[in-house]
Symmetry: C2
Subunit: 182 residues, 2 copies
DNA sequence: CACAATGTAAAGCGATCGTTGTACATGACA
DNA sequence: TGTCATGTACAACGATCGCTTTACATTGTG
C-alpha cells in the first residue's frame, strides 16, 4: 500500500503515453487514483514528481542490466537487455533524454539529473568493455555507448532490428580492438 | 519580406529554447513579431506551424550535407557536418525526434513526417556508404546511421567530442567491411 | 480610383494548467 | 479514548493555453 510508489509508477505510464509537459496533473494521477493533495504532500510539485519518476526509471534499468550480466559476452548483453526493455516498454526514445529536452529551458535540476544518469551509464558501459577486452579502452567505451543511444533513438522511427545492428557493430569494434592489442 | 519564412525561422528558435508544447503561441511569435492572425492565415494551427518548422529544418540539414559532400571520404564528412551543425545550433538532441516524442500521443501527422524524414536520411547514409565501399551494404549503412543518431543524442549530455568518437567508429566499420570483401 | 492581398493591434473565447484550501475518513498507536 | 499521520473528495485560485474575432493600416496592381 505504498501510495508514493503507486503515483510514481502511474505517472511514468502517463508520461510515456503523452509527454511530460503534455500530461496534466489529472492524467498523471488517473492511473494511481491518488488525489492532487497527496501528490503535493509527497513531491511538492510536478517537477518533483518528474525527478522521482526519472530516478526510479534509471534505477530499474540499471537493475535489469545487472541481472542480465551473467553471460559470457558482457557487451552483447547490453543490447539484448535493451531489446527486451524496448519490447516491454515500447520504443518512444529514451525517457531520460526526452525529459531533458522538454525541461531544458525550464528546470536546471532535471537537466542535471539526466546528465549525471547518462554519465553513470557510460561508466557502466566502460566497465563492460574492460571486462570483454581485458583492459581499459575509453574511446571504445564511448563508441559502444553511442551505438546504444543511437539504437534507442532509432527504434522510435524504425523497427527493433536496429538493436541487433548496433549489437553487431559493437562486436566488430570490440574484435578490432582485440586485434590491435596483439 | 517573406513573413511566412520569418515566422518559421523565429518559431524554430522558440521551439529550441523551450520545447514544442512548452512554447506558447506568444513565445513562438515573439521573434518574428508577427500577429496571431497572420500565423493562422498561413498555417491554420500550431500543429501546422510545427510541421512547417520540421520540414524546413530537415531541408536545411540535407542542403548542408550536400554542400559538404565534396571531400574524398563521404562517410566521415557526415560527422564533420554534424559537428559543425551542433556547434552552430547547440546540442539539444535531434529536433525531429523531440517533436516526435512530444506529439507521439497527440499528432499522427507529425509522427509520420518524422518517420519519413528519418527514413530518407538513412537512405542518404546508405548512398554514402555505397560510395565509400564500392558496393551496397545495408546493414553497415544502418550501423553508421545509429552512430550518427547516437552522437546527436549523446552530445546533449556530454561534450561534442562524442561526434569524433562516432566518426572514428564509422571509419573502423567501413575499413572492416572493405577487408571482408577481399 | 477601386480592389484584393497581406499585414498589425487588441480583446476575448472556453478550456486547461499547476497549485492550494477546506473538510472529512481511516487506521495505528499511545 | 485521544491524537497523529495519511489518505480522500471537491471547489477554486490566477495564469496561461490554443484559437477566433473585429477593426484598421499598408501596399501593389488593374
Amino acid at each position: 500500500m505504498d501510495k508514493r510508489a503507486d503515483i510514481v509508477s502511474g505517472a511514468a505510464s502517463a508520461f510515456e503515453a503523452d509527454c511530460f509537459r503534455g500530461a496534466g496533473i489529472d492524467k498523471v494521477l488517473a492511473p494511481s487514483g491518488a488525489s492532487t493533495r497527496t501528490l503535493y504532500k509527497h513531491f511538492g510539485s510536478k517537477e518533483g514528481l518528474v525527478l522521482a519518476v526519472l530516478e526510479e526509471r534509471h534505477r530499474r534499468f540499471e537493475e535489469r542490466l545487472e541481472a542480465a550480466a551473467k553471460g559470457a559476452d558482457a557487451v552483447a548483453a547490453l543490447f539484448d537487455t535493451l531489446r527486451q526493455w524496448l519490447e516491454e516498454h515500447g520504443a518512444r526514445g529514451c525517457m531520460l533524454l526526452r525529459a531533458r529536452a522538454e525541461y531544458s529551458g525550464a528546470s536546471e535540476e532535471i537537466v542535471d539529473l539526466v546528465r549525471r544518469q547518462k554519465s553513470a551509464f557510460r561508466r557502466r558501459v566502460a566497465a563492460r568493455v574492460e571486462a570483454a577486452l581485458g583492459r581499459e579502452d575509453d574511446s571504445l567505451a564511448t563508441q559502444i555507448w553511442l551505438l546504444f543511444e543511437g539504437a534507442t533513438a532509432a527504434a522510435s522511427v524504425a523497427d527493433l532490428s536496429v538493436v541487433n545492428a548496433a549489437k553487431a557493430a559493437a562486436a566488430s569494434l570490440v574484435e578490432e580492438a582485440k586485434r590491435n592489442a596483439c
